[in-house]
């Protein structure tokens, strides 16, 4: 288990740094408006709230690459924590989304999206944090995103997503943390808010 602890420490600390760097860069950017074809790549940071077997909140980062007038591919990573009955759970996720912009040329981008992700979930027993279980879960996600373009190549947006994960259910007690031996599918909902910087 120890090596895993080290594994998740790195992305977690990086994710805390991403918002700081992003805002520093935005000051130096020239004013830019709308979803111009010249803007192909954007980088952003995000806040995540997930509701499911566990309620988790956290931060993340994303890179969006526009492939055509309407189609954008996102790569993202999210890092979330939450508790249930005192048991700490943290999730570390990477994934990709495909969005289709229904309103090209407008300051508003309204885009249905689908994607896939892989999630490392770690659970600690409530009274004995040394007792952990972890699982790598694979997920599919779909939902709707809305973005609004501001000056200076900045956009703000949000997403509402439905998620389904295939993995082992993790359950925590005072001194126990258990991973179910059976694979199962669990559902969750997620809301994301992000700020992107366009190049």
């Amino acid at each position: 288990m120890r090596p895993l602890h080290r594994l998740y420490a790195l992305p977690l600390s990086l994710s805390l740094l991403v918002p700081a760097t992003a805002s520093a860069q935005s000051v130096t950017e020239a004013p830019r408006v709308g979803w111009m074809p010249s803007s192909r790549v954007s980088v952003g940071s995000r806040l995540v709230l997930r509701v499911g077997p566990y309620t988790l909140g956290g931060v993340g980062g994303q890179v969006a690459v526009r492939l055509g007038e309407r189609v954008t591919v996102d790569l993202f990573t999210d890092h979330m924590v939450g508790t249930r009955d005192g048991a700490l759970r943290h999730d570390h996720e990477v994934g990709t989304m495909l969005r289709v912009n229904l309103t090209p040329g407008s300051r508003w981008a309204v885009a249905p999206m689908v994607g896939a992700c892989a999630n490392l979930a770690v659970l600690h027993a409530a009274q004995s944090p040394d007792v952990t279980v972890s699982d790598i879960q694979f997920g599919a996600r779909a939902g709707l995103g809305v973005d609004y373009a501001l000056p200076h190549g900045i956009s703000l947006g949000g997403e509402a997503l439905a998620l389904a994960y295939l993995g082992h259910a993790l359950t925590g007690w005072a001194y126990r943390a258990e991973s179910s031996p059976d694979l199962s599918v669990t559902g969750a909902g997620q809301v994301t808010l992000h700020a992107n910087l366009h190049f």
């Binding site: 120890r2 602890h5 080290r6 998740y8 420490a9 977690l12 600390s13 805390l16 709230l49 566990y54 309620t55 909140g57 956290g58 890092h79 924590v81 939450g82 508790t83 249930r84 009955d85 005192g86 700490l88 943290h90 600690h124 027993a125 009274q127 004995s128 944090p129 040394d130 007792v131 279980v133 005072a174 001194y175 126990r176 943390a177 258990e178 991973s179």
Partner: protein, 385 residues
Amino acid sequence: MRTCISDLVGLALAALVTACAPAPDVARANADCAACHTDHAARFATSSHARASESALFTALRARADAPTAAFCDRCHAPHEAPDERGVGCVTCHQAAGARGLSNGRLVPGDPSVVYGRGASTVRTIAHEIRASGFVTGGELCGTCHEVDGPGALVETPFTEWSQGPARALAVTCIDCHMGRSPGRADGFETAPATPTSPAHRRSDHGFVGPDHADAPALLGQSAVMTLDAPVEADGALVFALTITNRNPGHALPSGARFAREVWVEVTARDATGATHTVSGGTDAAGAPRDPETRIELGDRIAYHDEVRVPWRASVLAVQALAPGASRTWRVNVPDRWNGAPTVSVTARLLYRRNDARLRASLGIPLTARDGAPAVLATATRDAP
């Protein structure tokens, strides 16, 4: 479902701190504990835990296991990381922070500088930190090993039986009955110091008295009552109703490693000449049953697939153990006369043998006098009409 999103930042930091904490890599030796806890060490040396990797039956079976199966045995029978250690030891229990499941020995060791216990000590020591743990004192610790969900007939379920039984409802745990002053009963604890220089406090008996312990008679005497009702006469036979009640509210009778044990009823009749005849439950010179199919048994019915009886390559056909507090009645037919001499009285004895004779014989380790002599759990006698 209590969730506090407001604590998220704190939790994230806590996660980072946990992540960076040094890994405990040295397991402590049990001999270290004996230096101060002299009474505990001496009493513990009498327990089956201290010899859990050494019994004749265990070593004979483990020798037949492939490497992954032997490693599975060792999780519970020899769970030490430190070299030169045998059996279950002080460190196994007192450094267990918790478990990854209540079965199959999935203990998780905690910080080696901490001992987990009741946390009632008022005296401090430089030897270790003391932390209260409901895991150690509530019985879940016991359940982690005393619940085997192994392959085949390598099954033990005392913790599940306890969880579903009356003792749990009364908040009576494994510790009350197996570490208290009276083996097999929740009768309180002795008072004695934890080290020769400490003040007296609640002493938990580290003999872990079980059927293999020298104090087993006191324990086994708590297990069952048996009755024989007045017989009815039918076709030259006397038909007795024999009832066994498991008086132990803690778990089934028998419990634990049922594949290793033998629990059966021996019925004998005395005729008018004073001669005694075995009606059922008799054994041969090697201890094997003469009427294995018909005698009254409480042990599991196990189908072994090979000549040599290896539990994890066998299957349990039926569990015949009595649930906590439960009773069961059998009809026992006794001939009303023996070579013309009428039956005068009938005696039933509920017998318990720590190692099954046929299991031992098939492994080439015949029963010794100590292992072979069955303990008597209960007796009932009834005169013929």
